[in-house]
């Protein structure tokens, strides 16, 4: 049996929009460009990228909501273009934000309706709805209209809806958006639990710490193309320089520090505004050399703040998305 839960080959999607009412001219926008990747059964795979990079378009094609312009994708062995019914029965998905629920209905009524759309027998769906509301912590509010829920509660209800028919594969599009830190932690725990029960998950998120904590592998997507794909640990190794030294200085002192850091071996150098001051970021394999060069300034109080730390996934992500500024 093929162990791939998702197999994407050269997937390409263009949207055509009309320009002007009379001209009949059209404009093509490429949302994703020849992307290929696979996700194994039981894997938690992350799809990261800035807004408009093509993450949601990819998820929508894999959910059979959109058709690709070219390329192919199969879900648990079923083609997303032709075997839509087989795919739809086996996947569950949530899209970020508050949309996707009937807000004038209660949580129970929403779930009962979607259970019917998935053809779940009432004797099964009643029990399943109870279990899922318990899982997402909404049992106490089950009869309340969804319009009275906080965005965090709505997100949790989305998850319950996605799990109704016990799908083998789940797409979670920014599941923790709008959820407070405690709620987000609970949700991450739930997601881990789903993977422990053998579910395959495709996660898109803007929170790098979340991706680092949860994902077995990550694909970073930029302007419709996958620009990196590996485990979080390997991705961090792909960017040269293990450490990041961040030095905060006054704008008037910036040139002085830039000159001082010129001779030091480094892999990347970046200057950013930081609350009226300047933050110099130096990515290097030799942080001790930077510290040595900076030592005289620490005592002279020209350095407002200095931090040395290991690189995080966020550093890697920013480096890939923005490109190195050495």
């Amino acid at each position: 049996m093929n162990n791939d839960a998702i197999d994407v080959k050269n997937l390409h999607k263009e949207f055509t929009t009309r320009v002007g009412f009379w001209s009949g001219k059209t404009k093509k926008t490429t949302a994703i460009e020849d992307i290929s990747f696979n996700v194994q059964r039981g894997e938690l795979f992350g799809l990261l990228g800035p807004n408009g990079a093509g993450k949601t378009t990819t998820v929508k094609i894999l959910s059979t909501i959109l058709l690709p312009t070219s390329g192919s994708a199969s879900i648990l062995g079923y083609d997303v273009i032709h075997a839509t019914q087989a795919v739809r029965k086996r996947i569950g998905f949530t899209f970020g934000g508050a949309r996707g629920l009937y807000t004038r209905l209660s949580a129970v009524d929403n779930l009962a309706y979607f259970a019917e759309l998935y053809g779940i027998q009432p004797e099964i769906s009643h029990q399943r709805i109870d279990e899922l509301l318990e899982l997402v912590g909404l049992t106490d509010r089950r009869e309340d209209r969804v319009e009275t829920y906080s965005s965090g509660m709505q997100q949790r209800l989305h998850l319950a809806r996605a799990l109704l028919h016990d799908p083998e594969l789940i797409y979670l599009d920014e599941p923790t958006v709008g959820i407070d830190p405690v709620g987000a932690r609970e949700l991450r725990k739930t997601i881990k639990g789903l993977v422990a029960h053998g579910k395959t998950i495709l996660l898109t998120t803007h929170y790098m710490a979340e991706a680092e904590e949860l994902c077995d592998r990550i694909a970073i997507i930029k302007q419709g193309s996958i620009v990196a794909l590996d485990t979080p640990a390997s991705l961090k190794k792909q960017i040269p320089g293990d450490s990041l030294v961040e030095i905060e200085v006054r704008p008037s002192d910036l040139v002085l520090f830039q000159e001082k850091l010129q001779g030091i071996k480094k892999h990347a150098f970046d200057v950013a505004d930081n609350d009226g001051n300047k933050k110099i970021s130096v990515r290097t394999a030799h942080p001790e050399e930077v510290m040595k060069a900076m030592a005289p300034f620490i005592t002279s109080q020209l350095i407002l703040n200095l931090e040395v730390r290991n690189q995080t996934l966020e550093d890697v992500y920013v480096s890939i998305i923005q490109g190195d500024k050495t």
């Binding site: 949207f15 055509t16 929508k60 959910s63 059979t64 909501i65 959109l66 058709l67 019914q85 739809r88 029965k89 998905f93 899209f95 934000g97 949309r99 996707g100 629920l101 009937y102 807000t103 004038r104 209905l105 009524d109 009962a112 309706y113 979607f114 019917e116 759309l117 998935y118 053809g119 009432p122 809806r161």
Partner: protein
Amino acid sequence: MIQRTLRLIRQQTRVQFQVRLFNLFSVGLYFIQPAIFSLVGMLLSQAAGNEKPDLVYTVIGSGILGMWSGLVFSSLYDIRGDRRDGTLELIVASPTSLGAVEAIRTMTNVLTGLVSLLAAFLVAVTLYDYSFVGISLPAVLVSLVLLLVGLWSIGVFLANFTVWSRLSGNYVEFLEIPVALICGFMYPISILPEWMQAISTVIPIRWSLEALDAVLMGSRDVSFLLERWGVALLLSVLYWGMTRLLERKVHDQIRVTGEMRSI
């Protein structure tokens, strides 16, 4: 299969009532608007020299107008609401076909529209001493059922265009008054110019309505009624057939364009 279909009808109807129908807009749609048309119709009838207003065309006609408006607007707003709420994508990506969901919704909207007609009958009976004596009730029922089937078939047909794109959905809205005018909801269709009558021949409700009007006015011309019923049924079946053909096309088209969400 039958049980599953019945469950789906029950659930969909329940959602329909909770989400869309019990609101003030529906009251306006199903009661206030037909009442205004009814009043205007009676005044026009009196102005034309009739001592008593023509009940079938004014009161009953306005009830049917309420049903038609209810169907057009409710069906349109159902899909608009789903686009706005992001639930259209969820329905499309579920194993239940959007066509089945639309068919049930439209049926619910058509049946809900019956309240307009019932209210119109009540007004006719209580305020204007309208009497059913001498009227063939079975013929009324057959005409009414065919009217409902006709409305249903047009409703599901038009729903495809509303799903297809936001723009084509807006055009469906424009059909409300023209269809009411050319089908002779509130006056005999024979007073319309011939070219208008010719257009209305492709609309099933024109035929069932013509039969209903005739029956309510005491006609027992069986061949006249059978002809109208037959054409109404045939056209309804034709609309259903076209709907089935369109559904697949629309499903594929919205998956290409991504027209399932409001921007």
